[in-house]
Amino acid sequence: MLKRLTKLLQGIGSRMLERIWRLGAAARFFFYTMVYSGESLRRPQLVVREVYFTGVMSLIIILVSAFFVGMVLALQGYNTLQKYGSSDAIGVLVALSLVRELGPVVTALLFAGRAGTAITAEIGLMKATEQLSAMEMMAVSPIARVVAPRFWAGVISMPILATLFSMTGILGGYMVAVPLIGVDDGAFWSQMQANVDFKEDIVNGFIKSCVFGVACTLIALFEGYDAPPTAEGVSRATTRTVVISSLAVLGLDFVLTSFMLSP
């Protein structure tokens, strides 16, 4: 009995240690990515190429999801608001929900699922087929050439995607609220303008999406770079990317929101 208990505790202890060790490795990885970013600045073409593959290729899923989210918000919002006779506030509801929370968070989750896994798989495969080794032997740092451009591309793409998400969601909400349900056009926009503040809401949402961009891209890059160079290793790494990115985004969202909402 005691033996089993000690074994259990040892298991938990070693797993905890492994997680902490991994966190340290990830922090070192982040540091090196920063240090080797000089190449990305000198050759912006590398970054532009990666922005295409992470940002532009994610546009479709982001925009379609945004449209649906906005529409659902309008429907659900109207359903509740009209019980209190405040159906005019539907514009505010849709706009604030999107700009403050749903824009950054849902975009980050979709980004992790689409672009994050693509990055992890790509880098994991490059490691498995010795392409990264080949680069090292050719005296080119793989972190400078492969990792850093993708990092900056993710950091640039995320806020843009989140902003597009918010805007498209609001349009989706408008489509449902005004032509479909019949809420007054002027009331929709004027209430929104009166209650959505640029500094408090829009800028804060933008800051959130930047932070999420750093987190998701870094996690995707690290998991790919650290993956065991086998088919199974790479596939496990892509799963880890999605799981850890999602948890990180939701956790950071809480931290950031509590900072931003406290006076």
Partner: protein
């Protein structure tokens, strides 16, 4: 993929993002109606500001003419000192009334300015002399109950007199 095609798409992507940001700022947010113009500051003292918060609107005749900038407590007079910033385009006479109203029945509170007739305008860092406090709901209710109670008391004594006179 051709290099130039990639560049084109990334350019469109970035431009779309910028446009969306502009759209959010202009149409959705209140960037156009706040902070753009120059303002001058004016203070007013209230005994009770109710639920007035910083950045609440300042309206005159229903139009937003400024924002509440800050709220302080004066320990000497035990009053609330409210600093409001008024758009430079609008001038108010020195004997303007500043009152705290509530939008709707239970909505947020704002400062209403009723212009007086003085020919001298308010300048930066001037003090509004005439103020009216916010209506506090609890005081209103207790007032209502008190009035109701005294009314029934009067009718009772009235009946008594009639009985007596008989």
């Amino acid at each position: 993929m051709e290099r130039t095609t990639i560049d084109l798409w990334v350019g469109i992507f970035a431009a779309a993002g910028l446009a969306a940001m502009m759209g959010l700022a202009m149409k959705v947010g209140n960037l156009t109606t706040s902070g753009i113009g120059e303002t001058y500051a004016v203070t007013a003292a209230f005994e009770n500001i109710g639920g007035l918060k910083a950045r609440a609107p300042v309206k005159s005749a229903g139009v937003v003419v400024g924002r509440v900038d800050g709220i302080q407590f004066d320990t000497k007079t035990y009053e609330a000192i409210v600093t409001i910033k008024i758009d430079k385009r609008y001038e108010f006479p020195k004997d303007t009334f500043a009152s705290i109203y509530t939008s709707g029945l239970l909505g947020e509170q704002y400062v209403g300015l009723d212009a007086g007739g003085d020919s001298v305008p308010l300048k930066n860092n001037d003090k509004i002399a005439h103020t009216q406090d916010a209506v506090v709901l609890e005081k209103m209710i207790s007032q209502f109950l008190y009035n109701k109670a005294s009314e029934t008391g009067d009718t009772k004594s009235g009946d008594k007199k009639q009985v007596g006179e008989k």
